[in-house]
């Protein structure tokens, strides 16, 4: 049994045609008018068929487009999720890389006192060996012994001082490294902590003869995340070294901490480098934005800074300064991090 959507219309047309034949015989004066009506109805029926087909086709197209749209939307969402994952991984590896740089900096710093201690100890061992030989030969004179005492006094003093220096460096680094790795919250003296962080950057700063001045109210204690702060300072210094200072320029960095009110800390970081062109200022915190692509710039340094300021520090950061007059970053954060 075949189904015809327009069965009724077609049957009506058939009946009307039969009627038309009767009218032609019985009332020929009505025939022309009737045929005109029949033709109009037949055309309308064809148009209806056409419109139904047309409309079905449009809706099929629409459905296909909707499916395609949904498929693309899902693709885009998957791609976005993957991109966010990759970005997260890169941000983490950037943090690790700067932790690595910190380790290298501290290792370099510790190398000097340890080297001095080793050469002093070796000198002392030589002198002791000679003294022992003289004693065994029975030829030890008063002058020999006095000379040895002088040597021993000098070298032990140097060994002690340098080992203490090394121990002090290790201590300050240990705290910074633990803070970096653990992201733990604690109270800390801001001034001392800034200094400790700068220790690990000394080799890099000394290379270009750059100087950092810190002006921080003594006794200002911050309750928050020192690891984040240390990372922020490291990245800002690296940014000055990589982008701010031209080769040969002996840069000046000024870190100034103020307290507009007892619960708010404002840390202004300024360098006297090239400054940031106004047109890229809105983009400096964007992930992967770099003016040094292909020259080792990851475009993540300042992004990590921004993340840490708005994340753990629950603060805000602005960028300023003028080309030729250095860059200025102003970080404002609560003295006691909320959510304790």
């Amino acid at each position: 049994m075949s189904f015809n959507l327009f069965d009724a219309e077609e049957k009506a047309i058939e009946r009307a045609k039969a009627l038309g034949e009767r009218i032609a015989l019985d009332a020929p004066e009505c025939s022309a008018g009737f045929n005109e009506l029949l033709e109009a109805f037949t055309r309308s029926y064809r148009e209806q068929r056409r419109l139904v087909r047309f409309s079905d086709r449009l809706q099929a197209q629409l459905a296909t487009l909707n499916q395609e749209l949904e498929r693309r939307r899902q693709e885009a969402e998957t791609a976005l999720a993957r991109l966010q994952e990759a970005q997260e991984v890169l941000v983490q590896s950037e943090k690790l890389a700067s932790l690595g740089a910190l380790v290298a900096g501290v290792a370099h710093e510790i190398n000097t006192p340890v080297g001095i201690a080793v050469s002093c100890a070796s000198h002392l061992a030589d002198a002791t060996g000679k003294l022992k030989a003289l004693t065994e030969q029975g030829g030890l004179g008063r002058n020999d012994f006095n000379r040895y005492l002088a040597t021993a006094t000098d070298t032990t003093a140097l060994i002690l001082a340098n080992c203490e220096r090394a121990a002090q460096l290790i201590n300050s680094f240990k705290q910074v490294a633990v803070d970096r790795a653990s992201a733990e919250r604690r109270s800390f003296a801001l001034d001392a902590y800034i200094q400790e962080t700068l220790v690990s950057l000394q080799p890099r700063l000394r290379q270009g003869n750059h100087a950092v001045s810190v002006d921080c109210p003594p006794g200002l204690t911050v309750d928050g995340f020192p690891g984040a702060l240390s990372q922020i300072l490291t990245n800002l210094v690296m940014n000055s070294l990589q982008h701010g200072f031209e080769p040969g320029h002996e840069g000046r960095i000024a870190i100034t901490v103020t307290q507009p009110d007892p619960d708010t800390v404002v840390l202004a970081y300024a360098d006297d480098g090239r400054g940031i062109p106004a047109e890229i200022m809105p983009k400096v915190f964007d992930p992967f934005f770099t003016t040094r692509r292909g020259e080792g710039g990851s475009g993540l340094g300042l992004h990590v800074v921004h993340n840490l300021v708005v994340g753990p520090l629950k603060g805000g950061i602005t960028v300023g300064g003028a080309p030729g007059q250095g860059a200025l970053f102003t970080i404002t954060f609560p003295r006691v991090a909320p959510g304790a």
Binding site: R46, R50, L51, F54, S55
Partner: protein, 131 residues
């Protein structure tokens, strides 16, 4: 008779009826918010033009997309052209569509069913040759 030109919008096609030259063009997309507002003046001008005796008429249609109301409007236009052709006027419709646009080809074939006196050409390949 004065030429009728209507600039296209996102939802309505371009109209260029050069009545004196006997070349009428309709192109673009057609899914107007209100069919009567858009097609009313077009129908009026076309009806006026066809009512007067005149030379051959060429109607170029090149639509990318149109809705059901526009399809009905097109069928009405074709009917007007068919009547003019029955009245002895030489009428040609060029139904242009892009290469490989099977849907537009089939719509054209459908529309041509009711046209006996009008010469209906399916022209694949877009605006090639249109003046």
């Amino acid at each position: 008779m004065e030429r009728l030109t209507i600039a296209p919008t996102g939802r309505t096609p371009a109209i260029d009826f050069d009545f004196d030259g006997g070349v009428l063009r309709l192109s673009g997309e057609s899914y107007p918010d209100d069919v009567a507002t858009f097609f009313g003046p077009v129908f009026g001008a076309l009806r006026g033009f066809l009512a007067e005796p005149g030379g051959p008429v060429r109607f170029d249609i090149e639509l990318v997309y149109f809705n059901s109301s526009s399809a009905k409007a097109l069928m009405n236009i074709f009917q007007m052209l068919e009547e003019a052709a029955r009245g002895g006027r030489a009428v040609t419709v060029n139904w242009r569509f892009e290469d490989g646009d099977d849907a537009m080809r089939e719509f054209g074939e459908d529309f041509s069913e009711d046209l006996e006196e009008v010469t209906f050409n399916l022209v694949e390949g877009g605006s090639g040759g249109a003046a």
